[in-house]
């Protein structure tokens, strides 16, 4: 290789970071594919419906966290009300199918469109301004959506909940409620597809522009990158991910919607998932979704105390591992890789 032919000056020894990063990114893609492969086998290992149920939730959270990761890790913006888009997706799907008898797929599409329009209306004016106006605006959206779900009882069923949501159909086949296994595959297929879409998106030319504007918005603007437009698009896509997760939630085994999962509480949990896993990484949402869903389940008896745990987690993470768990693991692996040849006394100088 060219590097070998160069004289042994300082430069020749400096490792090619970007090459290493690119190699790692390629490896990561393969690992992710392998991971989804393993997830396809997991149900054979567990006979318990409860665990399957939790794994379905992890899949939904993975979709949500992946969307939010695009916004936070690449566009450098924060949404404090992402559960609202999850809720719009879920309730639009639920109402259209249960009350109006729509086909679930058509309802899903309508829910997706509605979510994107709302996100666009929120993002367009706020993302033109410098600073964290989006965070404020999404906080507001989160509150409004929560209130609407609770108060507009004729439409949403209010705190009593929305019932009678039909099951999802797949090529004429009903994914029925007593068959969690089918729904598990359905949700994880969506999670895999949306993760692959995300990976391709961030590796594309617009993805590179997005990363550039994260590094220096000013320089990107000077080069003619429509930075505000890119941020709006990233936000709308992240809301679309949440909407899809919402639809999948609505048709999951309970086929019942109540306001609780779509409140501020969930928005914070999603935020912690992304930060914990590592913003701007492929593995981040996976690690975050698993960890936080499991914490949620463990703390379920203590109801509202998990928000305290999330708060503490956020603080500790920011101090100890600002890059998230997946980056910390990555550096650890690099470190070990460096040690192995050294311990063996290998040929590396």
């Amino acid at each position: 290789m060219a590097a070998r032919e160069r004289p042994h000056t300082d430069e020749a020894i400096v490792p090619n970071e970007a090459e290493r990063h690119a190699a790692r990114r390629r490896a990561e893609k393969l690992q992710i594919v392998a991971f989804f492969g393993i997830m396809a086998l997991v149900p054979f290992g567990i006979g318990n419906d409860y665990y399957l149920h939790i794994l379905i939730y992890i899949g939904l959270h993975l979709i949500l966290a992946t969307g939010l990761n695009l916004l936070m890790g690449y566009a450098g913006q924060v949404s404090l009300g992402h559960a609202a888009f999850y809720g719009i997706g879920a309730y639009a799907s639920g109402i259209l199918t249960a009350t109006y008898g729509w086909n679930p797929w058509l309802a899903m599409l309508a829910a997706l469109l509605l979510t994107c329009v709302v996100a666009w209306l929120v993002g367009k004016p706020t993302l033109r301004l410098r600073g964290h106006y989006l965070a404020m605006a999404t906080l507001g959206v989160g509150i409004i959506v929560a209130v609407v779900i609770r108060q507009w009882t004729d439409l949403t069923g209010g705190s009593a909940g929305l019932t009678g949501i039909p099951s999802m159909t797949f090529f004429g086949h009903e994914l029925t409620s007593d068959q969690d296994l089918q729904y598990y595959y359905f949700v994880w297929a969506w999670a895999a597809a949306l993760t692959v879409l995300f990976a391709n998106l961030v590796a594309s030319r617009p993805g590179r522009a997005l990363r550039a504007l994260h590094d220096s918005e000013l320089a990107a603007q000077v080069l003619g990158v429509d930075t505000a437009g890119f941020k709006v698009r990233a936000f709308v896509i992240s809301a679309a991910y949440a909407s899809i997760a919402g639809t999948l939630y609505a048709h999951s085994s309970m086929r019942f919607l109540s306001p609780t999962p779509f409140g501020f509480h969930t928005s914070i949990a999603l935020l912690v998932m992304v930060v914990l896993g590592g913003q701007g990484t492929l593995w981040g949402p996976v690690l975050g979704a698993f960890t936080i869903t499991l914490i949620e389940e463990t703390l379920r008896p203590y109801a509202d105390y998990d928000i305290i745990v999330y708060g503490l987690l956020l603080m500790v993470l920011m101090i100890v591992m600002p890059g998230g768990v997946s980056r910390a693991l990555g550096s650890l692996i690099d470190l070990v890789r460096g040690w192995v040849p050294a311990l063996r006394g290998g040929d590396e100088p």
Partner: protein, 242 residues
């Protein structure tokens, strides 16, 4: 080539530029000097479309370009290399250069040829083409910022304090590079706090104070001007003191 006539600009209520008029002719190096907060960066921002002009007109070549967007101005041939280098730290040197051609609509081959041109001009960048830009030294980052700007094939190059924070010898190399670019036919508008270095390579200069142009002239005249010497060249403290 470039002409500003009575341009005003403000940040909200704060007026940053008051009736700025200046021009840069084909093939010139013109420098804009002034103290911190005088309005140098703001002037460049208005020219490159980052900030609107509240009033006044800007012409570039034959066209009136007042309040055009940045990407259209890049295509017209204006390149702004911002203050503080602002390289894309998490991207490789090659990716940074690629983004330099973002608005040009050039084909892949053309971009590759342009990139080769930059690598010939800055061999150090070629050695580091796969390295992350954030890990380059300050001088290398400035070279990269310059090369990234040149990827848009500009007619007018606007540099905002390119020698800021660099060791004197590196700053000197940057200035030499600017001179070389002019010889190749580029027109340069150079913003500098290091007024002496800028005036040495410039043809003409403007002095800006609190958003107004207070002095203009040939570089020679400005170097000899006692006011400029006192305020910007650090000369003659003793004479005033005694």
């Amino acid at each position: 080539m470039l002409r500003l006539t009575s341009v005003d600009a403000s940040y909200g209520r704060v007026r940053a530029l008051r009736r700025i008029s200046l021009h840069v002719d084909d093939g010139e190096i013109v420098t804009l000097i002034g103290a911190n907060g005088a309005g140098k960066t703001t002037t460049l921002a208005v020219i490159s479309g980052l900030m609107p002009a509240a009033s006044g007109t800007i012409t570039f070549g034959e066209q009136t370009v007042t309040n055009w967007g940045p990407s259209r101005l890049v295509r017209a041939g204006i390149c702004h290399v911002p203050e503080g280098r602002q390289v894309f730290g998490s991207l490789s040197v090659a990716d940074n250069l690629q983004l330099g051609a973002y608005s040009t609509g050039l084909s892949r081959q053309e971009i590759r040829a342009l990139m080769r041109e930059q690598f010939e001009r800055f061999p150090r960048l070629e050695e580091r083409r796969t390295q992350l830009a954030g890990s380059l030294s300050g001088g290398e980052q400035q070279m990269l910022a310059l090369a990234r700007g040149l990827m848009s094939r500009p007619k007018l190059l606007m540099l905002d304090e390119p020698s800021l924070g660099l060791a004197p010898i590196i700053a000197h190399q940057v200035m030499a590079e600017v001179q070389k670019l002019r010889e190749e036919g580029l027109t340069v508008l150079l913003v500098e706090q290091n007024a002496r270095a800028a005036l040495r390579i410039a043809d003409r200069g403007y002095v800006i104070e609190t958003g107004r142009i207070v002095l203009e002239g040939s570089a020679r005249d400005l170097l000899d001007n006692p006011e400029v010497q006192r305020a910007y060249l650090g000369k003659g403290y003793r004479e005033i003191w005694e």
